[in-house]
Subunit: 446 residues, 2 copies
């Protein structure tokens, strides 16, 4: 509530303040907040855009979501567009160009200086979700034979252009990464020491083709705020900073959660009905097929059901519990795979664990439902049949919840995407098979 008022107030402020006055006060407003105000404005955003100084426009476009960047840029006169594109961070410009059509992208690139254009084309050549695709090329490079004093002088000149100045990267003549100096170490060192004496040579380097989720795992593991990206010959290409990683982590975690539920990774609250339907339907159809498989299994036992109709009443319990237990296991395994926590050593241990859990949970639930159904149906065999079916089903749930994600991972299919369909198919089909099959065998007693 309070937050929203701030946005609305800021919007009103931006609309009514004269351009000259805004120049004086705008340094006190964070670009992200200006962005929020623009987002809730239904009128012509050009009114506001034309009042904002160019350096701030650069920051705003840097901060904006990929799809918004071009929309905002298009509101500006051509010459301003050119200036802004030149001042933007290379990684944000790459994101902008990657989010629009080739035609639109080329029209922007043609207006750039040859060197910048070449650099951008190179960045665009990297996979969008790889280290190369998310890095920025603006970093501060120094030589190891420079003194601390030289480096500080250089920093004073170059710093405004750099993506980050928390670290300075020490390169040799072939642009290979020799080491890293943190700004803190530079500031506390004696002026006449050489860089090679204070630099850290054992810096962790990110390969240009590493997947962004893995990059996020490394940042999370080592806790760096900035890491260098290198090519296969250790030549330094660019840097990735912590704020990129925040975005990536949010993206990757949301993606996994959506995939597990059968939403695709681009699902958003703001999507149109048509887009959402187009993306959710395929998943629903796949689930329809697995549901039909379960139905076919049940149809094999129609004879049994017609003789003991109560079996139909208890079917939802058998299917439901297997699905729930299977989902518990598969969620744990899918997450473990994503966080890199599963390896050759613990896989066997985990399988045995899930089998034990399946049996124990199966016994607990099976006993409970066995007793309850005995009371309800006044038939002890009924209770026994459903209890055994439940134990078997929970065992199947544990085993399939464990193996399906791992098998998919081995086949290079994203486990988050397909696991739940296969696991629930197995628990449904086998659950019904056990339950109705046992009922058929012992039908004389039911």
């Amino acid at each position: 509530m309070e937050y929203k008022s701030y946005q609305e107030n800021l919007l009103r402020y931006l609309l009514y303040i004269p351009k000259e006055d805004l120049k004086l006060t705008i340094s006190r407003i964070h670009p992200e907040d200006i962005l929020d105000a623009l987002r809730i404005y239904d009128g012509d955003k050009k009114e506001i855009i034309l009042k904002i100084p160019e350096e701030v426009l650069v920051d705003i476009i840097d901060q904006a979501e990929d799809e918004e960047k071009y929309e905002l840029l298009s509101l500006m006169p051509d010459r301003k567009q050119k200036n802004i594109v030149e001042e933007m961070s290379s990684d944000e410009l790459t994101d902008l160009l990657g989010s629009i059509s080739n035609e639109e992208a080329n029209s922007i690139i043609y207006k750039m200086d040859i060197d910048d254009a070449e650099e951008i084309r190179e960045l665009l050549s990297y996979e969008k979700d790889s280290a190369g695709g998310i890095m920025a090329t603006e970093f501060i490079a120094i030589r190891e034979d420079m003194t601390v004093a030289d480096s500080l002088k250089y920093l004073q000149k170059e710093a405004p252009n750099a993506e980050t100045a928390y670290y300075l990267y020490v390169l040799n003549e072939e642009e290979k990464l020799r080491g890293v100096v943190s700004l803190r170490d530079l500031v506390v060192a004696n002026f006449d020491r050489e860089i090679k004496e204070i630099m850290n040579e054992n810096t962790i380097k990110i390969p240009w083709d590493m997947d962004q989720e893995e990059v996020g795992n490394i940042f999370e593991k080592y806790g760096f705020v900035s890491m260098p990206v290198v090519d296969s010959s250790e030549k330094m290409l660019g840097i990735i900073t912590a704020d990129d990683i925040f975005e990536i982590m949010k993206e990757e975690y949301t993606e996994d959660m959506y995939l597990l539920a059968g939403l695709d990774e681009d699902e958003k609250i703001e999507r149109t009905v048509g887009e959402s339907v187009k993306n959710r339907l395929p998943w629903l159809f796949v689930n329809l097929i697995t549901a039909i498989l379960a139905s076919v299994t049940v149809s094999l036992f129609e004879g049994t059901i017609s003789r003991v109709v109560a079996l139909a009443t208890f079917m939802p319990i058998v299917a439901g519990m297997g699905g729930n237990a299977g989902t518990q296991t598969l969620t744990l395994i899918v997450r473990g795979i994503a966080m890199g926590e599963l390896d050759m050593e613990n896989t066997k241990k985990i399988l045995l664990k899930e089998i034990s859990i399946g049996i124990l949970n199966g016994l607990a639930i099976g006993l409970t439902i066995g007793v309850l159904s005995f009371i309800w149906q006044k038939n002890i065999m009924f209770g026994i049949v459903i209890a055994i079916a439940m134990i078997l089903n929970m065992l199947v749930a544990g085993i399939s919840g464990y193996s399906v994600p791992l098998i998919l991972k081995k086949m290079n299919i994203d486990p988050a995407l397909a696991s739940s369909v296969f696991v629930t198919t197995m628990t449904d089909v086998l659950g019904f098979f056990f339950f109705l099959g046992l009922a058929t065998i012992f039908i004389e007693f039911l």
Copy 2:
């Protein structure tokens, strides 16, 4: 594979290298990697611990997981423990003390200096998952009337003790936060300028009681590497850094994903069978109750089913599809709530969207299954009944998937925790009710 070999090689290296030689080479090894090597060592970790210089032990314990910290600390002789505890980051020490019994914690605190002990007790008084609970108290504080030169001199003296020196915090006599200076700005400014001229007064401050997930959202939104934590009078208490946020984000996202599946937030791959069963069973029992509710619904129509046994065959389809569609919606809404993307403005729009999607998906799936079941059962009324039931069920799925998380949120219950149980109850119960109810009404035609 390659990575594991590195750990094993490092372990062997640490085991066999003499203490004096390790002193010379250890600066080239990252503490996190030493930690990994210790984790895979089944022997007496003391062998390795006693060889490692104290400063590195501090880093290792800082990096270790909360539960590991005390285990590692206990391997060391008393006096070393005292030294290490004094050198640890305050936020990591707080985490360590928070993870052990009060007795063990007090025995550590008693050995500390009075000032440090008081500081730690204060940190321990904050909620574990709040800004106060995750912050560190080591930051660099300067006055606004200091010159750049003074500040740099001060930094040279203080920097080794600070959690981070990316930012210097400008406080007044009452320790209230007046502004922030980035190290980069300090380094590029003229030596004789005063801090008040170059500082940023409009810094975003984190309230001490803000929930850690919200803190993570702010870091992600604004992209800072370090942010100040203040009390209600804007007095500065400590700082939170980007690496804390990486950990928190991973924790929070994993937690949400686990909760949705019915695992509790502490579920881990390394847990014992007993612990896992203890934590998964309650959820399974809750699901058992909702499954029984669905069964009771079916039992009302046992008469109908005994006359048209094929209805039992098609029950899994009706229940399953409703559950899937409901899960799609609730996942989107739960995630939207967690990321702060739902507000008064878009909630109505989203409800209408989900209703439309439910109807459209229902029509598509309903038509498909209607035709398929007509072909299978050679009965057109059967196809019509199941088609209509499907459309209604998908509509219910959309509405409940939307409203249940929001209602839970309003009641201050974590939507991720309980939504799926309520949503699937509604889709199962109402799905069976529509399907079997319609079948009962039109039973003469089936």
